[in-house]
Symmetry: C2
Subunit: 512 residues, 2 copies
């Protein structure tokens, strides 16, 4: 027989459970793996397709900042996605998809300083393209292109940024974003509140620990900076500094504003009196306090924003999520395209409740983005949008660590029954039994070896968490019975072939 079906006596018939990266399964592989991490430089043999004639060094690695997902990671990922998508579906969100690249000009001038992090495609004689940097700009392009004025959509997809990757910090160059956005002209804060509600529900259902959501408003920040005396052309850069307050102490932030950005120290001190302010329980009282503030009360746009915030916090109360949401004047969020409410969710550290381990979701209102693609897109020249983006990579990492800690076994398959041979020359009998099980809708596997060893087959069931095995043997076949083995208890019983499907179904239901 040809090589591809040559017998290799000691090659296990069972699938090797996914090896940990870098660890090897037998002595020969160990010799090879010494000294290797993710890099493996091989002399590629010349010869027939698929390789070119002659020798070539081959590097086996992922591009910098990217990674494969193995089976266990995929099982976790699917669980996380399912939980999140269930929440979106609870709220009637639809979904769309866009290509992984856009015309470069679509992405131009959308990301400020971060534009240098965009991956470009090579000029190969056609259109000039770039990989999408987020899902929001493609969304705005989609709305403008299709003249859609109202939509409530979620979108889960990978985005690309030529950042400095850091596996420790869960920062990759290719990573998932999970966005929920509402586009449409509405006359109250229900859509902004919807984003907060969905965010809280998602974080609760994921059960990844204590979290809190801060909200603020672009117009409140602008009003604050105006009344404190910040020059208008410094608004953005001062906001960037304020944005660092979640990770950096005030003194350092102040030093940056005054020392590097030329802000009047008195102005910085005024700013400090505001950015420490946050609602503690009673949002209404806090908003009253802000409304009555001698400086803020002078700003009409600021007061207008406070009215919106009052309605927003009140809706949070109606939705039963007030305990998770605080109005916090230190929240700034980059602000490139936000025009109204902004929000950010952070996981609390295990110890000190005030110590956060970083943000896991963020968003806000961005009313001008779609209109920037097409000012004629609606009568008002704009399609207002509000949305939230969940940082899935951070959540994956938390879930992986959690499952590891709880030693919880994650199944990577859903197989219910394994069809095994107890003796040689039963390949066709096994195949026919599998056929019957598939016809009955039972998830079934068998070895791909002609004469697999019993021990290998049972070990396979144990590694993969398969609950039952059906063991075929000559005498059972003659007596028209099949041996049913409970993999967990190791109990065995003989089942008549006629009532096999019925019996298995019943046993599977019992173990649910």
């Amino acid at each position: 027989m040809a090589d591809s079906v040559a017998i290799q006596g000691d090659q296990p018939a069972v699938k090797t459970p996914p090896p940990k990266k870098g660890k090897s399964k037998n002595k020969t592989e160990k010799e090879l793996s010494d000294g290797l991490n993710t890099m493996l430089v091989i002399d590629k043999e010349g010869g027939d397709a698929p390789t070119a004639a002659g020798s070539q060094k081959m590097v086996l690695k992922n591009p910098k900042g990217t990674r494969d997902f193995d089976q266990k990671q995929m099982a976790i990922r699917e669980k996380v996605f399912r939980t999140i998508i269930d929440c979106f579906e609870m709220h009637g969100a639809e979904t769309i998809d866009t290509p992984v690249f856009e015309l470069k000009e679509t992405l131009t001038n959308k990301y400020g300083e971060d534009s240098k992090l965009i991956y470009d495609l090579a000029d190969q004689g056609g259109e000039i393209l770039s990989l999408r940097y987020d899902l929001t700009v493609p969304f705005a392009r989609y709305l403008a292109m299709n003249k859609i004025s109202n939509i409530k959509r979620y979108h889960i997809g990978k985005v690309y940024r030529r950042d400095q990757p850091s596996t420790a910090r869960g920062r990759f160059r290719e990573f998932f974003q999970c966005d929920f956005d509402i586009a449409g002209q509405y006359d109250c804060m229900l859509s902004d509140a919807e984003c907060l509600l969905i965010l809280v529900q998602i974080l609760q259902k994921l059960d990844i620990g204590k979290f809190s959501v801060k909200v603020n408003h672009r117009q409140v920040l602008d009003a604050m900076m105006e009344v404190c005396g910040v020059e208008k052309d410094k608004f953005r850069t001062i906001c960037s500094s304020i944005d660092k307050l979640d990770k950096t102490p005030w003194d350092e932030v102040r030093a940056e504003m005054v020392g590097q950005k030329g802000l009047d120290p008195a102005v910085a001190d005024r700013i400090q009196t505001y950015v420490v302010m946050k609602s503690q329980g009673d949002a209404n009282a806090f908003i009253d306090q802000l409304r009555n503030d001698p400086l803020l009360s002078k700003s009409p746009t600021g007061l207008e924003a406070l009215d919106q915030m009052r309605q927003l916090m009140s809706l949070c109360g109606c939705y039963g999520i007030s305990e998770f949401v605080s109005f916090d004047l230190s929240l700034a969020r980059g602000l490139d395209y936000y025009t109204g409410t902004i929000f950010e969710a952070t996981l609390q550290g295990e110890g000190n409740a005030a110590e956060s381990v970083g943000s896991i979701a963020g968003g806000g209102r961005y009313d001008d983005l779609v209109g920037s693609f097409d000012p004629k897109v609606s009568r008002s020249g704009k399609i207002p949008c509000v949305g939230v983006s969940v940082g899935i990579e951070r959540i994956f990492a938390v879930m992986e660590a959690k499952l590891l800690k709880e030693k919880e076994k994650v199944r990577t398959t859903k197989t219910q029954v394994y069809v095994a041979s107890a003796q040689k020359n039963l390949m066709e009998e096994r195949a026919k039994l599998c056929r019957d099980l598939y016809l009955a809708g039972i998830k079934t596997e068998q070895s791909f070896k002609m004469n697999p060893k019993m021990l290998d087959q049972l070990q396979y069931c144990e590694s993969y968490g398969i609950p039952f095995a059906l063991v075929l043997g000559e005498s059972e076949i003659q007596n028209k019975v099949v041996k049913l083995r409970d993999i967990t208890t190791r109990a065995e019983e003989l089942i008549p072939r006629d009532s096999l499907i019925e019996t298995i179904r019943r046993k599977l239901q019992e173990t649910q």
Copy 2:
């Protein structure tokens, strides 16, 4: 109030159902859409972020050969994926994921002439990267990199080819592949048969019409060419010609082989006697005929392959799929990296049973690919693989056409209950009712307008297929009841607020 919440009296509170591309919803949009298809050239207004100061022409389109998926297309796509993944899970397949780009050298010399169709990323000072061309080479790289010798995995993901796109033919530059592959050294044809079984089950479950699967074997083709007298260095190119027989008549193919590729006409004539041969029902008899063929019987590798084919066809019998599978000597399949069995599934046209509308899946055995990445990957220097790839784009197109024809309404959301206001100033009451429904796990929506119109709300329910509405009004609130409206029958009844959840659950179950 700020622009974002300005009241626009005649803007519908309800989400506009997804507009057909190119069609507009009101007069202003119609004026704009005249003369536009997917291209929209706009003067971008200067101003604050997110746009640059000054004016720029903005093109709103997808890159050539790519497309967005709207909600309806996503609903179809998710249905198709779910069906396919259910089949994979029935067979205990695990899944993995790989990045959208690889190091360029990983993809080099893998695709023969088609290598010119690979998308490269720009040299931005780091590694030289290319977008993945298929899922098979990344799979082989993954196995070699992680020293995995056995795995049964599926992978659904987008791949990228700078081909000549054709929407009519469902040929895109960015498109999904859906692959199932088994890697491992096995001593019989069970893994090859598994691919055929899964393929048939998927096509049956998708219910897209009559289909057939052709199988052949690289060694049979090679033996055939050898015994017919084809020069060894012409094997590949003659195979490419044979590969065209599914679309091109023999005379044209012969002309290409003799006229363009310099094949001896007598050799071409001998080839013809073989490529018309296929099993018609009794595969064993057919294989006996081939074994006894005066020319073929002279080839040891050919006879070896025929033994494998006999076992394969016998297993198809055990699996109950013989009626869909024929051994067909005209199947050639590009053959860049196939080393053993090859297969292809085609949909039959509605009229003439012999007229196919094109291939929808293909695959085969490719034992040398992983070893080409790392000759030391196993004792034998190779990890044998066999797999099948389903052409999802073609299946999407067939499903879309089918649903259109059957006028079947595809829901894009799963909302069960819509909470409506009958009068003004009930925003907070609506929010609180939504909260109760979410806590009870009921999929719920409401308008984002403060005072939505009843007609708009009910029309929304009808467009989105939402089965029930709960209508709030002042008197109902005071009497602690809620009006439950069955959207389909338009029947209404008053339900006590206390037993609301229970009642809704019961009604939802009744409509299952």
